[in-house]
């Protein structure tokens, strides 16, 4: 099966993801660490330990999410270049992505309350916090099935 067209499409997705991720990191995490209060003082100067931990977790989960995305995209591109549609070892990255998303979305949805209001009792859990990981894990299972079928097809002489 000719996969050159799909490889080029994946490459375009990869380049777009890299650019948007770097921009997002700079914009979002930069803003989070440099939020200025009404008094003109950077909020981070008055952070309590748990707020520092929350902001650090938000940043770490965001970066981890991007790293897993890149690993998955690179493995996919390598597979497509070798003429394989699905790579068995890539499925676990979808599961890891789903789990990371759970924590990232929780932090993302509550970072405003945490760093500006310090309102621990106003934590919210959005639908996407649970929904996206469920979808990611479901797709990981389907991907693994597809990888098994692709392997059988490849070993059908």
């Amino acid at each position: 099966m000719k996969t050159t067209k799909y490889y080029k499409q994946m490459k375009a997705v990869m380049i777009f993801t890299v650019i948007m991720s770097l921009f997002w990191l700079y914009w979002t995490i930069g803003r989070t660490f440099n939020t200025i209060s009404d008094d003109g003082v950077p909020l981070r100067d008055g952070y309590e330990v748990w707020q520092i931990g929350f902001v650090a977790s938000y940043s770490i989960f965001a970066i981890a999410l991007m790293v897993v995305q890149f690993i998955f995209l690179i493995k996919q591109m390598k597979s497509i270049k070798n003429g394989m549609l699905f790579d068995k070892s890539s499925a676990k990255y979808l599961i890891i992505w789903g789990v990371l998303w759970l924590f990232y979305d929780f932090c993302s949805g509550n970072v405003g309350q945490m760093i500006i209001n310090g309102a621990f009792n106003e934590i919210v859990i959005h639908g996407t916090t649970i929904g996206f990981p469920v979808i990611a894990i479901t797709f990981a299972i389907l991907y693994k099935m597809a990888a098994n079928v692709a392997e059988e097809n490849n070993l059908t002489i």
Binding site: E151, E152, L155, T156, I157
Partner: protein, 58 residues
């Protein structure tokens, strides 16, 4: 192959399979074989499918 004094490379050329695929068949790593492939191999080696296939329990 030995009886027909044929190498793997020669067989792959005559059957129309790559050396890699024929090697997969020979080493038993194939998951399935197409009837067309079996037909081509038997034609070239002038044998029956039973001569080149053996059942083994997993």
């Amino acid at each position: 192959m030995a009886k027909r004094k044929m190498s793997l490379g020669e067989l792959s050329e005559k059957v129309g399979l790559t050396l890699a695929n024929l090697s997969i068949l020979k080493t038993g790593k194939a998951k399935a074989v197409r009837f067309s492939t079996l037909d081509a191999i038997c034609k070239v080696l002038d044998c029956q499918p039973g001569d080149i296939l053996e059942y083994r329990e997993d």
